[in-house]
């Protein structure tokens, strides 16, 4: 699944429910050009810097929120 970063934030405050995300963590909104430019959210993996317009590749993984494990997307910046 390929996309382009539409927006992002890096969260430093320990918001309740996000303990399993580590700190800080980066949330992305990603545009999918191959799906009519709809946007999906997810978490940024790896060392790449979030920059609007940067290409990313994503996969379905799991996230633990408020102690509950749910499906979620993870993205990585491609070169």
């Amino acid at each position: 699944m390929r996309g382009v970063i539409y927006s992002w934030t890096r969260t430093w405050h320990p918001f309740e429910g996000t303990e399993a995300f580590g700190s800080p963590f980066v949330t992305l909104s990603v545009t999918l050009p191959e799906a009519g430019d709809i946007r999906l959210m997810g978490v940024l993996d790896g060392e790449g810097e979030p920059i609007i317009g940067a290409p990313v590749v994503g996969h379905v993984a799991e996230a633990e929120v408020y102690g509950r494990v749910i499906p979620g997307l993870r993205w990585a910046v491609t070169a």
């Binding site: 927006s7 969260t11 430093w12 996000t18 949330t27 909104s29 946007r39 959210m41 997810g42 979620g72």
Partner: protein, 386 residues
Amino acid sequence: MSAFPVSTAVVGLGVRQYKRGAAPLPEQGVLVGAIVDACADAGLDPSEIDGFVSYGDDKNEPIRMAPDLGTEDLCWSAQVFGGGGGGVAAAFGLAAAAIISGQAKTVVVFRALVQGDSGRLSGAVMAHHLNDHIMAAGNVAPAIECAMRAQRLLEHHKVPRRCLEDLVRASYHHGARNPKAVSYGKDLDLDVYRSSRMICEPFHLFDCSRENDGAGALILTSAERARDLKQKPVYLKGVAQGAGRGWGDLLQNDAHYASAGFESVARRLWAQTGLTPADIDVVQLYENFSAQGVASLIDHGFCTYESVGEVVRYENLIAPSGRLPVNTAGGNLAQGFIHGIGIAVEAVEQLRGTSANPVAGARHCLLAGGPGAPTVSSAVFSTEAC
């Protein structure tokens, strides 16, 4: 669009505000106190209040206050949908609708917040947004939600970061000079602001609104009756609520993601009042976060992405010298935060001439509700009865 009937006025104000966790009474007791204060301010007996309106998932059902207030006849009991502060201005629309249609005569618009009783506000607000897709991205708090949009505002639309700082500085400038503000006597040093801890980029601590315990109450009645009461009437000149097409998507595919959601609401407000941004003398702006306040000014037409750097400048935003005085009591950032009811109170204080930071000769004050909420609202208050 037909003109809004300017036939109602705010005649009474009551506020009880405390540090979070420091309210001396449970939430309903604090609220009843604020309503009684507003009645005393207006010269009304609390038993005469026959209508109640709130917003933001307020938990205080009006009938439960009737015994304390001695309510003679409860005629109108309503609340604006939505968990955020988007409904604060719309609440005046509901109150006016009741009065103009003859369903009630004396309506109190209120909001109460004692989080030890009613639970954390941020969680209640976010409950309107959450689904597994959003949560799996770690987007569990209003700060994160709004930071995503703020980042788009800065990085893509090129709004200068300085505009956010200047809005915060102006709020603290006013708050430092307002004895009723939490930040009274405390100017915000820019170095302190910039070095304050990061919450979620681009928001530092001071970009985020406070949270206070308390309650605010504003009494609306007919313009005709208002003339016989104690205070100088402040007229409801116009009010609009809602959202345009492309706003409010559950997966945040909002068409104009970086906006505050006011474009259609502002258009209707200006059309029904016959006013333009140039007619507005002072603005009370709900700022949950600094960037959303700036986006709200853009949405209402005070500036564009191109001109925001010229308009949203500290010197321009402060009373009495600025051309666009904003949040003259200190706003949610510096005056205090009871889910935004304080900015409505300041709109009335400003037009009564009792603000701590008065704008000389102010006739029209814009009240812009919670930006970025799925449904938003704005109102204009005026010294003019037509």
